[in-house]
């Protein structure tokens, strides 16, 4: 084997090893947590709830489509042993309010829709809307 060939072979093996290393690191990095996956799904459901451009039936259909994914993801998080004592801001916030995080289970438990339960948790009820005073916003 000539010197040029030997150098090329060495470069190739080095490049290949680096490539494998980068792939391994990438795989590790892209493995998002169970809670992060749930939060992503929850955000999509809330987006559907708050989207003013959706008709009521479209909204209901989107929420129904999200339910099978949501039920599994909520259960995975609740059953995840690695979650116990993992004192990060995301985990602390998630377990601060069961009804807001585990929307589907909380709503089903109370025999309410996801939308109704979520809105009531953030303080928006029929009573609060109806009793809201109409007045000018300050500063305008």
């Amino acid at each position: 084997m000539t010197i040029t060939n030997r150098i090329n072979f060495r470069k190739l093996t080095t490049a290949a090893s680096l490539g494998v290393l980068v792939c391994a690191v990438s795989i590790t990095d892209s493995n998002a947590g169970t809670l992060e996956n749930l939060e992503r799904e929850r955000a999509l459901v809330i987006e559907s709830i708050l989207n003013p451009e959706l008709k009521p039936e479209e909204r209901a259909e989107e929420i129904e489509r999200a339910k099978p994914r949501l039920v599994d993801l909520e259960r995975i998080v609740l059953r995840d042993p690695k979650m116990k004592g993992r004192n990060t801001p995301t985990v602390r916030r998630a377990f601060e309010n069961y009804d807001l995080t585990f929307m589907l289970h909380a709503a089903t438990e109370r025999n309410l829709s996801i939308t109704d339960n979520w809105l009531s948790q953030i303080g928006i009820t029929t009573q609060s809307v109806m009793s809201a005073p109409i007045r000018r916003r300050s500063g305008e």
Binding site: K67, P68, V71, D72, R75, I76, L78, R79, M83, K84, G85, R86, N87, V91, R92, F95, E96, Y98, F102, L104, H105, T108, E109, N111
Partner: protein, 306 residues
């Protein structure tokens, strides 16, 4: 030292020999005294024992833990060295017994020789025992540190339980309880009428949980998983390791006491050596022809007249 003329050296050679013979026991006693002091050997020169990491040992069941540590020690260089030393000390002790009996039956110069030999053997015995104690100390200190590390590992989960972490864990426990309490209700409401089909995750999870339940039950009833019993009181792993630590600490205290014993033995050997050298000196003095001191006054008459 007196100046002895050369011609007197050869004709009365015993004039030098008493000096040498007198010095020999003193030199011998000095050697015994110097070497009888029990000096601490630096640890660096002793064989090593590196036990298994505390992370691995903490996971072992309590019943197996002590046996595992003892077995690991027995196979180490330090363990083998102590065993070898034990054998040497046993043989040395036998040698001392034999010499003691021989001294009783011997007579004259032979007896003195055997007594010298006995002293040397006593010195050697003290050295072997001192060496053994150093190795034992190393073993016990290593064991002590190991138990301390294991207790630290066991207590780590408690030590890291800060206020906020504890609050989080409490909330997680509450969430779990609420989830389990409502699970059957939620299942009925969600999956009735096939509104939401049961996912693969739910089906496989249920199947795996059955298998896990059986395995956990078997682990719980396994012989090696049984807790240590002390006077009818079941000990936790932490309590058991604390007990072992206290035991090791007491062994170190006993070892220090044994070193005191060795110190006194060494002192006795030194004193016996002095006795022997004194006896040898007496014998030398009796047989020696010491030079007579002639006073000048005796020759005064020769100077009175010319």
């Amino acid at each position: 030292m007196t100046n002895i003329p050369l011609n007197q050296i050869t004709t009365s050679g015993c004039q030098i020999r008493p000096g040498l013979r007198a010095a020999t026991p003193i030199i011998f006693a000095a050697v015994i005294l110097m070497s009888s002091t029990v000096t601490a050997r630096p640890n660096a020169g002793l064989p090593e024992w590196r036990p298994e990491s505390s992370e691995k040992l903490v996971k072992l069941p309590a019943t197996y833990l002590k046996k595992s540590i003892d077995s690991d020690f027995a196979d180490s260089k330090l363990g083998l060295a102590i065993e070898e030393n034990q054998e040497k000390s046993r043989l040395k002790l036998q040698s001392l017994k034999d010499l003691k009996m021989a001294v009783r039956d011997a007579d004259g110069e032979v007896k003195t020789e055997i007594r010298h030999h006995l002293l040397a053997e006593k010195r050697s015995f003290i050295y072997i025992m001192s060496n053994k104690n150093e190795m034992r100390r190393k073993q016990l200190v290593t064991k002590l540190r190991l138990f301390e590390r294991m207790l630290k590992k066991l207590g780590e989960s408690d030590a890291q339980m800060t206020k906020s972490r504890k609050k989080l864990v409490d909330k997680q426990e509450t969430a779990k309880k609420r989830f389990h309490a409502s699970l059957s209700t939620v299942d009925v409401r969600l999956f009735e009428n096939d509104a939401i089909p049961e996912s693969k995750y739910s089906q496989k999870y249920a199947k795996n949980m059955t298998a896990i339940g059986k395995l956990v039950s078997r682990i719980g009833s396994h012989r090696m998983n049984s807790s240590i019993n002390a006077d009818g009181h079941l000990l936790t792993k932490e309590e058991y390791i604390r007990g072992l630590l206290a035991e090791t600490q007491s062994e170190i205290s006993i070892l220090e006491q044994e070193e005191t014993i060795l110190g006194y033995m060494a002192k006795l050997v030194a004193l016996d050596a002095l006795v022997l050298s004194e006896e040898a000196l007496d014998a030398v003095l009796i047989n020696s022809d010491l030079p007579v001191n002639n006073s000048p006054a005796e020759a005064a008459d020769f100077f009175l007249s010319n």
